[in-house]
Each structure stands twice: as C-alpha cells, then as structure tokens.
Symmetry: C2
Subunit: 154 residues, 2 copies
C-alpha cells in the first residue's frame, strides 16, 4: 500500500467551539496555569479565500491556541455567518469540533478521502496566507471532523 496521506497519523490539534472565547481562554489559563495567549481574528474572503460548502464565504472566527504537548488545543468563537464553526455551535453547543493532521499536499489528501466517501466542508487560507486548512465531512464515518493543515514552504 502507498503511504496514507494523513500526516503519519499524528493528531496535532484538537479544536473546540466556544460561545465566548475571552471567557473560556481565561478558564484555561486559570486551570492549566499558563500564560494568556493572543486572541486572533481570522480575515474575510478577500484575504483567506474561504469557501464553505463550495461557495465563497466571509465568515470569520476568533481563535486562541494552547500548546499541550504534541497537541495544540484550539479555541474557536465563530461569528454569525454560516460556517463549519457557526453551524456546529448552533447544532451541538460548546464541544469538540475537530482533530487535525498536518498534510503535505492537501489536494492529494482530499482525493484520497474522496475515495472513502468523505468530501470537503470548508477550506481557506490562514490569515497570513502561510498555509491552508480544510475541514472534511468525516463525522458520519469517523464520529469526528478531520481538519487538514498544510503549511506552505517558506
């Protein structure tokens, strides 16, 4: 079998959707005894080229990251435009949203997952355009959403 294009099966991130990121970040800092991370706001379609269910989207989110060993905990507070984040919050409330893998070639991984019946839900560039993310429609098969992260060569 050729190599499975899922980043060596190493989970690098667990993403959670929250209602109020400032509130939840403070709880994490208090509980885990870590410094307050910056809260970033993602940019709109003109920069990030975000698509949701195949159509351009101006949905944004506030993000904060904690490094917990190999795994980064990502907190995500969506805005009110339709997105993979907003829809998840509306359907599930605050909860774990995805697990992420670093991939070398997003197109190749998407093709591989398509062969297993798993399509793309949302895709976009990082706000600094240094890489791209892709959320996959994997909940029906795997019980969890997969995110593919590709960091572009510098």
């Amino acid at each position: 079998m050729s190599e499975i294009p899922l980043g060596g099966n190493v989970v690098c991130q667990v993403g959670l959707i929250v209602e109020n990121i400032e509130h939840t970040v403070q709880k994490y800092c208090d509980l885990f005894g870590v410094a307050m991370p910056p809260i970033q706001v993602t940019l709109a379609h003109d920069v990030t080229e975000t698509t949701y269910k195949g159509a351009p989207s101006d949905a944004t989110a506030k993000l904060a990251f904690f490094d917990f060993g190999q795994v980064q905990i990502e907190l995500i507070e969506p805005d009110h435009l339709p997105s993979v984040w907003r829809d998840y919050l509306d359907e599930h409330g605050e909860s774990v949203h995805h697990i992420a893998f670093i991939v070398k070639n997003t197109g190749e991984t998407i093709e591989y997952l398509a062969g297993h019946g798993i399509g793309v839900l949302q895709q976009g560039l990082y706000s600094d355009r240094s890489g791209m993310y892709t959320y996959m429609d994997s909940v029906p098969a795997l019980g969890v959403m997969l995110e593919l992260l590709e960091n572009f060569p510098k």
Copy 2:
C-alpha cells in the same frame, strides 16, 4: 505557584463515543491504513468499582485504541445502562467525548479541580485493575470533558 496536577498539560488521549464500535473501527483501519486493534469489553462493578454520579454502576463499554502519535484515539461503545458514555451518546450522538491527561495522584487532582468548581462525574478501575480513570464535569467551564488517567506503580 505549585505545580498544576494535570500531567504537564500533555493531552494523551482523545475519546470518541460511537454507536457501533466494530463498524467504526473498520472505518479507521481502512482510512488510516492501520491494523485492527482488539476490542475490549470493560468489566462490571465487582471488578472495576465503577461509580457514576457517586453511586455504584454496572455500566460497561466496548473500547478500542489507536496510537496516533502522542495521542491515543479511544473509541467507546457504551452499553445501555446509565453512564458518562451512554448519556453522552443519547444527548450528542457520535462525537468527541473527552480529552485525557495522565496524573500522578487522582485525589490531589480532583481536589485541585474542585477548587475550580469542577466535580467528578464517573470513576472506575481499569478492568485489569492496573490503574484508574476519572471523568470530570468540566464541559461548562472548558467546553470539553477532562479524563484523568492514573497508572498504578507495578
């Protein structure tokens, strides 16, 4: 500040609740190209001393584990008795259930979390009695359930 008793803030496991573990294990094996893991069935209260919301419980679950780097993916299919697993499946459907940390002293960590308003939901010994797990009522504060894993000295 004294050391935070949460295993150096290293996430060691992500647990998912599924309806049919044989079905989902097969999907993981196919997609990630890994060997079929054994499916274990946890034992009842006489062995595991399981308590749920403070009362003895005979709830069990089928479990399977995949090692994905530092992080183990745990699939859990609950039986139909009330448990932290069954209630989660009934409320949320198939989804991510918890993130786990290895702790040195469960009692100390429970005391620490109690000081942050987070109580115990379910606790029990591993079926081989080599350690214990404790699920914490952390969703309101953190958006995710914490599991404490303590492996007893051999």
